[in-house]
């Protein structure tokens, strides 16, 4: 990574111990703004733990996490998940978590924070939020139209394919001023063509909205197609980092995955 990149997300010497288990040890990563960065490593290497620390689900045992908002750099470790989200960091889960009793459109509409109609006093006066709601619906429909998914707007999650559910989970973030996406295994459970479509979609979102992606993925071959930089974790420690082509040649990485 060259020095002149603007980093949007930085962890510095982050460690997390669960009792005697060292899930993460002094991990430092820097995510340049607007890049697609991969995070790989064998099972149990601490990838999801790192995500949990960045998004406020865990407090690191030591170390700091910094985030660049539009005008300044703030420290975000120790914040609550909903506070981290409000800064523009959106995450998805290994098992997609979209709301089963809401339609796709409602799943998009529920996302924006600080809606006027979310307070009890405003909720009972429809006129106070109707105009906002109209704008949100307009935005949601335009997002769905952009990605050719208008036909699923009124469907419930149970009626969707796994790929569409993952898509909706990612689209949801576009309803807010999201700036960084943390995707936890977005390709898990997808067949090859669908996985490729989703990756294409991620790239499209990145290019259209100038967003940053930090992606955990086990399908290294596919990840390498879109990632511009890759970090490798092994047993809680940062093993290697660099351009995908370099990392994959690294003997340490090969050893971590397939043994001697």
């Amino acid at each position: 990574m060259s020095g002149e990149e603007r980093h949007i997300l930085i962890t510095r010497n982050v460690s997390k111990y669960f009792g005697g288990v060292k899930a993460l040890e002094k991990v430092s990563v820097s995510i340049p703004e607007g890049w697609i960065v991969g995070l790989i490593g064998p099972n149990g290497s601490g990838k999801t733990t790192l995500f949990n620390i960045i998004t406020g689900f865990h407090v690191p045992t030591e170390g700091e996490v910094f985030y660049r908002t539009s005008d300044k750099i703030v420290r975000i470790d120790g914040l609550n998940p909903h506070e981290v989200y409000r800064l523009g960091i959106v995450r998805t889960f290994q098992i997609p978590r979209i709301f089963p009793s809401l339609t796709v459109l409602e799943n998009l509409l529920v996302t924006p924070i600080g809606q006027r109609g979310e307070s009890i006093l405003n909720a009972i006066r429809w006129r106070s939020w109707l105009e906002d709601e109209k704008n949100l619906v307009k935005k949601a429909l335009s997002i769905l139209t952009k990605f050719n998914k208008l036909d699923i707007a009124f469907k419930y999650p149970a009626e969707l394919s796994v790929a569409d559910i993952k898509l909706v989970e990612t689209l949801r973030g576009l309803m807010t001023p999201a700036r960084v996406y943390l995707l936890d295994e977005p390709l898990a459970g997808l067949d090859l063509p669908t996985a490729r479509t989703l990756l294409k979609f991620i790239k499209e979102v990145r290019d259209t909205y100038k967003l940053t992606f930090f992606i955990i993925e086990h399908r290294i071959d596919l990840l390498m197609e879109i990632a511009e930089y890759v970090y490798v974790l092994h047993a809680g420690k940062l093993l290697a980092s660099g351009k995908p082509a370099e990392v994959i040649q690294n003997p340490d990485v090969v050893k971590a995955y397939v043994g001697e």
Binding site: H82, I98, F99, S101, E106, G117, I124, L130, E133
Partner: protein
């Protein structure tokens, strides 16, 4: 005449229970707060209403409470005299008691959300269940509210009208008005962005947290509102039946309300209301049929759970989500159609 008094009686019970059912559907069906302690708030409101409408009334009228506390015969006699002779005072104290029940029970619910948020979703129900039982034990052991015997002679606010049918009809109108208010309120909340957020929290509170929703704060606000309204229902109940005692606020009441929202549909206000209508009707009809069951070796009261169970089973087989399941808010469809028209 008998039919009218039956109808008035049934509909008053219905209005009071519908308040409980609607708020429970907002708590359990929409926001995911499994409230197994509904009776705690109902009972607290009832006792608050009872205490205010007796002690306060006696105190303002200059009766020596030390000599004639409301749970003694002297107190009841004094209350009867005052409620027949001083309408503005009775109505005034009653109105105040409704407001106080709302605020105090609401705050009680709000404070309870602190332990609730800490014990995790699965234990919410049991924590609240215990709260109901603890409150009942407190009533039993408090001489001030009559202990096991409870309090009698709580004045019905329209008793000074003289004609019992007229006064209970007025009371029915009042409770129906409060029910209509609550119905409109919850219906609007359900179809607003707040309703959507509450549903998302019920579906998956972790994901809602990840989307920036301040889950504990939203839940405690809703719980303040629903608890307060349950308290109002309690105060209305106490003044209607003119008495309170700990035996009236057993856990069974809670599950009766649960049965209402299970039958009617827990995710819509109309469902909760219809559920309350059906179950209160059964409850009111059973005593009337007592003479037909004269030859039974048990009182028809025991048939009530049988009927409720039967209705519940049949509804659940035919309508698993209740008689009136949730519909997506019409307002969004309207907006979408409007946008389509604008776009041509």
């Amino acid at each position: 005449m008998e039919i009218i008094s039956f109808l008035v009686n049934w509909l008053t019970y219905f209005a009071i229970y519908a308040l409980l059912a609607i708020t429970l559907s907002l708590e359990a069906g929409i926001s995911g707060i499994t409230n197994f302690g509904k009776v705690a708030f109902f009972g607290l409101g009832a006792y608050l209403g009872a205490v205010m409408n007796t002690y306060l009334l006696l105190a303002i009228s200059g009766v020596d409470i030390g000599k004639a506390p409301p749970y003694t015969a002297e107190g009841v006699v004094a209350l009867t005299r005052i409620s027949a002779s001083n309408p503005p005072l009775v109505v005034g104290v009653f109105t105040l008691s409704i407001l106080v029940s709302f605020v105090v029970t609401g705050i009680f619910g709000y404070l309870l959300t602190y332990p609730i948020i800490r014990v995790g979703a699965g234990f919410v129900g049991f924590t609240l269940l215990c709260v109901g039982e603890v409150l009942r034990a407190i009533y039993i052991n408090t001489g001030f509210v009559g202990g096991t015997y409870g309090m009698l002679g709580i004045p019905q606010p329209f008793i000074w009208l003289g004609n019992p049918i007229l006064s209970s009809t007025c009371y029915l109108l009042l409770t129906t008005f409060i029910l209509a208010l609550t119905y409109t309120l919850t219906h609007r909340i359900l179809n607003s962005p707040l309703g959507r957020t509450l549903r998302s929290i019920r579906d998956d509170d972790i994901a809602a947290l990840c989307l920036g929703k301040d889950v504990p704060k939203i839940k405690s606000k809703i719980f303040f509102l629903t608890s307060g309204i349950s308290g109002v229902a309690g105060a209305l109940y106490a003044c209607y039946v003119s008495s309170v005692n700990p035996q009236m606020f057993v856990t069974l009441v809670t599950f009766n309300v649960w049965a209402m929202i299970i039958i009617g549909g827990s995710e819509s206000s109309i469902g909760a209301t219809v559920g309350a209508l059906i179950l209160t009707l059964i409850e009111r009809i059973l005593p009337l049929t007592a003479s037909f069951y004269g030859y039974l070796p048990f009182t028809p009261d025991y048939l009530r759970p049988v009927f409720i169970g039967l209705i519940m089973t049949i509804t659940l087989i035919r309508y698993p989500r209740g008689l009136f399941p949730r519909k997506p808010p019409r307002i969004i469809k309207t907006i979408v159609e409007e946008l389509e028209r604008e776009a041509g």
